[in-house]
Symmetry: C2
Subunit: 213 residues, 2 copies
């Protein structure tokens, strides 16, 4: 057998370089040559691991969205561990998606940049679609659990509520990102977003039952 290398690690290394470049200077900055330089490897190596540039971008996008999903899953696990209300767990999960610090703002920039390109790239669109579907499903299950334990009004349509929550958090993220420094009354935009999100969740999870997901 010949020389070996950690395929996954190399791909991750290159994807991380892509993400840094996109976060810093947009998708157009992620040229193959610059990605190679940022990752500290040669152009040829990037080609070795990603035959076409689109493969590289798709992989990087998948990685970013997977990471974001993992953070949400982690928040859910934490909520379960401390036996919080479903309302609280969902709030923590969704707050995780608001670009309130520089790390999350960077992630938001990357996600949005790819999302823009997804408009004319079916593979990227599919990643975005799956991600949205995944989070909607999680939220829908949370609402159904709430229905069963009394935290949610039994009349509530779980899927509809999930669409509503995803829409709200996505729209709030956009405003928090763009207008972070614009006050909303006496609040910062981030504080306003949190308040709006809390109100929405208090509306869905109006019951009293204490339960974990």
């Amino acid at each position: 057998m010949p020389r070996t290398a950690d395929h996954d690690a190399r791909r991750a290394q290159i994807a991380a370089a892509v993400v840094r470049l996109v976060a810093g200077d947009g998708l157009d900055a992620a040229t193959v040559a610059r990605v190679a330089a940022e990752a500290g490897v040669s152009v040829g190596l990037v080609q070795h691991y990603f035959p076409a540039k689109d493969d590289m971008l798709l992989f990087a996008y998948e990685r970013v969205m997977t990471d974001a999903g993992s953070r949400v899953a982690q928040r859910i696990a934490e909520g379960e561990a401390r036996q919080g209300t479903i309302n609280g767990v969902v709030l923590d999960s969704l707050m995780e998606l608001l670009p309130v610090d520089e790390a999350r703002r960077a992630e938001y920039r990357v996600a949005r940049a790819f999302h823009g390109r997804a408009l004319d790239n079916a593979a990227l669109t599919e990643v975005a679609r799956r991600w949205a579907e995944d989070i909607r499903r999680r939220l829908s299950v949370a609402v159904q659990n709430g229905t069963e334990c009394g935290e949610v009004d039994p009349e509530t349509d779980a899927e509809l509520a999930a669409v509503r929550m995803v829409a709200l958090v996505g729209g709030l993220a956009e405003q928090v990102y763009r207008d972070a420094d614009r006050p909303v009354g006496a609040r910062t935009m981030a504080a306003a977003a949190e308040r709006i999100l809390r109100d929405c969740l208090d509306d869905v999870f109006a019951g009293e039952c204490r339960h974990y997901m």
Copy 2:
């Protein structure tokens, strides 16, 4: 004086070509050469009216957003004319922004494509910011009017409600666009979005007073 031409008409003609190309094949398709061909003019003429490509894109983006704003304003004017409730007028205005038919889907594609590039272009960001600010202001005024005439609970924070409505309609637009064919329970995504929007507005405009904006 030498030969004259309708400056504004020419710029509009070129901008329309940009919009068609972006709607069809994304921002990268809007090269100067292709825009010229699509508009039926020479490359040199495009340069004559837009010294740099960025000027051209900025102008096209401004035009798209202005058009969208005008449609909203028109819906408001129609609502005033028929003396509808504020709730109804706001609903019509916001429904106008959902990508429910091919024309609006095309507009949504264009807006989103530019929005993505705005992440690393200050001039484009400023357009997006002003547009959001404008619609938030309109909504905030509508809520305040509602407060004065009894259609809105006096405790309601108008600016917060405006942020909430903008967030909701933006997030719903994204899901309607991407998941138009995905059913939400027994509804289409578009029907689900309308229902969610109605519920939100019925929550804000809970009072009974019949009034026009």
